[in-house]
Point group: C2
């Protein structure tokens, strides 16, 4: 062990890094990128080391200024020692070998992730292991509980806290703001935290950011919810699921989202956010995350079981997911769909799905039915509620969304006449992301035709919007290089002649 | 893209990192730990970014001084852009989904690894995927060829270049220096490159380092081999298998070494080192990497097949691997065994195995048989050759090895009388590593008894050596906490009563 003096430096490595003089590193038998346990008082963290001969003097440790949040002052004594091999390594190996993990093994794993004890290599192997071998029901329940234990929890003075979540995978599908507006207009409390897009062209948080702020402290959120019955905020700043955030970072590059991990991720956040009633939207169909009804039912069963074990009432809605929902794909384009629906217009599929999901939430809490949900929308009460939320989140509901669209636009037209047999979710997502979504809020895809509709050769199938010219070009290349719309001759039952 | 001026800084991050001013990073839409492509002239590398507001001025890029090896000078113009998503991600996902990779996919993967395009998370998922799903013969062949392509190659003016390799997993088993001495004494050319220990208490390179230097340039190695017919050097400094080194780093934390990866790793290095004849030692038995004869035969078949596809003559020796070989485990202790055998004494199992392996190499090249191998050892010619090699590698063959042993020592004695039924490879390795091997060269385990021998209660089973007191204590705790020796009543066929 070495005692070193804290020396604040101005650097942002994006991963936990401390800087040591090369001599001190050698004294501990450490090489660059080895890991150390860093202790200050009761605070214990694990970090990679970077060494230098001159930028940090022997006897000192280079720390980010942010370390001050732990009470560290310039020159304070910091103890470091080589990080021991984490117990989780054997546990990850066990999962790779397809063995079921015991409760205490899962708690060890989640604790090690929370304390940054695992390297990126180890995290990569872990998410791969969970992806390939899966989690049993028991493993999923224990993972969910362990994740709740390692996050902050929000408590409410009200009884009927409701929430919803979509497992995603379907472009558009931005039901959440509409559902929340309806349900909150009825009087239920729905403090909705959402994620940003991971692999999709927009997450609910990305889309809401078009209207207003989405990053708030728990205290601010309580204030917003007390005022409006609801909020539509980004969950990432709340620290309610720090472990999940770390796992998602590891799942992201390969777009891995194994079932057990998804259930634990969703339900631990709902539990930590204080929800009692949760509706899960499971889009199903070709090109959705879940392609078959039996798998969707199985997933729903597990969601309900794990929910019950965590004292939550969970219901699942298996919904049509074999094509995009709504017309806009990308933050601003989806915001436009939402606003139109709240104003009584807008794409019918997104409108009906939102009403049906809201109705399920009203029914599971004994607060109404589809009729009531529809009335909230048609009467303008849902719009009024949505605008209230936007204002409470420092936004302006009267903004001109059309002006926020990307200034570069190209249309893709049908090269044949016929009936739309299929629209590829993957292709649409890919094009919208290449066009710049979700980072460029005005980028994305606007669809003119949906599955089952007839189209004539030369008619516009979809527009691509981009904020940057080269991104539009790249998105166009992708659109021309892959099959987005599958157009077949009308009413033809023959799929292929071989 | 941004053009920045090179600014040399004194830092060793252990992974590829460049430092940017936070404003420049924002300009590129990048956050800390995002990845950039860094281009200088024709040199293209991928690196993580660290940002700072003060340590690097806007318009500059902080580089390690080592960048000078690419010709970069202070103030030189460096182009950076966000690193594109590597094609390998889809390929890794495909392997996770248990699909066979095509030739071009494997070449893409190996190229991306070579160019540092994959993050640690992605590498972790890759080795996990190969571990769980395995490689087909075709995948193994293509991986081997792709690895050869991405490394430097050594060529020789001689015809009969031989080599050997043990797949490892058995403590002690330091046959290589003895085999090389015998074979080179006969007159064959054997430029042996070895690895350092990854998960074991010593690799051949660690043990040879007790006698002499092991890090040489290809030019120096040619000089040594021309002089002595052989060398016993560390392969890591030769850059003949840069991709393999990167994969091994990712396999290390979880001790993953999937079969296809092992074959590609071994044979690509042999090919790059210019070998024509290769003998693979496959230790087999309880506690070895390969536990059953059918698996060993299968592995041998694949080694031979892949070797043939790369124009090498590969033979395999399936050897006893159900317990440690030799008496010493750890660099100095193994060096002592080697020296004793070369001097005509030493542990019988290690001596006989070395003779048998050497004989196989003589036979496959038409240069002799077991009789001849034994004569080399008994006549002292092998010792003479070994000393020649040590001298050529800047060592002193007359050093006092006993003085290099760790100064802290404890003995573990039998708590019952009987016959040694089993010695646990894993336990022995664990104890030796905790005692400090391979880093502390004088640390390790010295065995007094082998499988099948009779022991009386109270007799010493093994000694633990350590250079540091606390390491000896930890190793003792491990030794007392796990079953190292299994001692049964003599000639008892009953294993267990249930």
């Amino acid at each position: 062990m070495l005692k070193l003096k804290a020396y604040f430096m101005d650097f942002e490595p994006g991963i936990p890094v401390v800087k040591l003089n090369a001599d001190d590193a050698t004294e501990l038998g450490l090489r660059p990128h080895d890991r150390v346990e860093v202790r200050y008082g009761k605070t214990l963290k694990t970090a990679y080391i970077e060494t230098t001969c001159t930028m940090v003097k022997p006897g000192y440790i280079g720390l980010r200024k942010e370390s001050r949040k732990y009470g560290v002052t310039q020159g304070a004594i910091i103890c470091i020692r080589p990080a021991p091999r984490p117990d989780s390594l054997g546990i990850i190996k066990k999962k790779l070998d397809d063995m079921e993990l015991k409760k205490e093994e899962i708690y060890t794993l989640i604790k090690d992730i929370d304390q940054n004890r695992l390297t990126d290599i180890e995290l990569g192997a872990l998410v791969a292991a969970i992806y390939v071998q899966g989690f049993s029901e028991r493993e999923t329940i224990n993972t969910t509980k362990a994740m709740v234990k390692h996050g902050k929890q929000i408590t409410w003075n009200k009884e009927c806290i409701v929430d919803k979540h979509s497992i995603g995978g379907v472009p558009g599908n931005r039901t959440t703001p509409i559902v929340i507006a309806i349900v909150a207009a009825v009087g239920l409390t729905i403090p909705k935290t959402s994620s940003r897009a991971i692999t999709s062209p927009a997450g609910t948080a990305d889309t809401m950011e078009v209207f207003c702020d989405v990053s708030f402290t728990p205290k601010q959120i309580k204030h917003i919810v007390n005022k409006t019955n609801a909020c539509l905020v980004w969950g990432g700043s709340l620290d309610i699921a720090p472990v999940d955030d770390k796992l998602i970072r590891a799942e992201y590059p390969l777009s891995l989202d194994p079932e057990g991990q998804v259930i634990a991720s969703v339900l631990s956040k709902k539990k930590s956010a204080g929800s009692k009633y949760v509706l899960i939207d499971i889009p199903m169909g070709d090109g959705a995350k879940v392609s078959r009804i039996d798998k969707a039912r199985n997933l729903a069963k597990k969601f309900k079981l794990v929910g019950r074990k965590l004292d939550m009432h969970v219901e699942c809605a298996i919904t049509k997911g074999d094509g995009p929902i709504g017309r806009g794909i990308g933050p601003v384009l989806e915001a436009i769909d939402i606003m139109e629906i709240l104003e009584g217009k807008g794409p019918k599929d997104l409108r009906e799905k939102s009403i049906e999901l809201a109705a399920l939430m009203l029914r599971m809490t004994g607060h109404g039915d589809e009729e009531k949900a529809r009335r909230m929308l048609d009467s303008g009460l849902a719009l009024k509620k949505f605008n209230e939320i936007v204002v409470a989140q420092n936004g302006n509901p009267k903004m001109d969304l059309l002006k926020m669209l990307g200034r570069y636009k190209e249309s893709i037209c049908a090269d044949t006449s016929g009936t739309i047999e299929q629209i590829s979710n993957t292709a649409i997502c890919g094009i919208a992301r290449i066009a710049g979504a979700p980072k460029d809020k005005g980028a994305g895809v606007y669809l003119y035709f949906k599955k089952g509709q007839k189209v004539n050769k030369g008619e516009k199938l979809f527009d691509i919007y981009a904020e940057k010219k080269h991104k539009l070009k790249n998105a166009l290349n992708r659109a021309n290089g892959c099959r987005v719309y599958h157009i077949g001759p009308k009413e033809n039952m023959l799929i292929e002649e071989i």
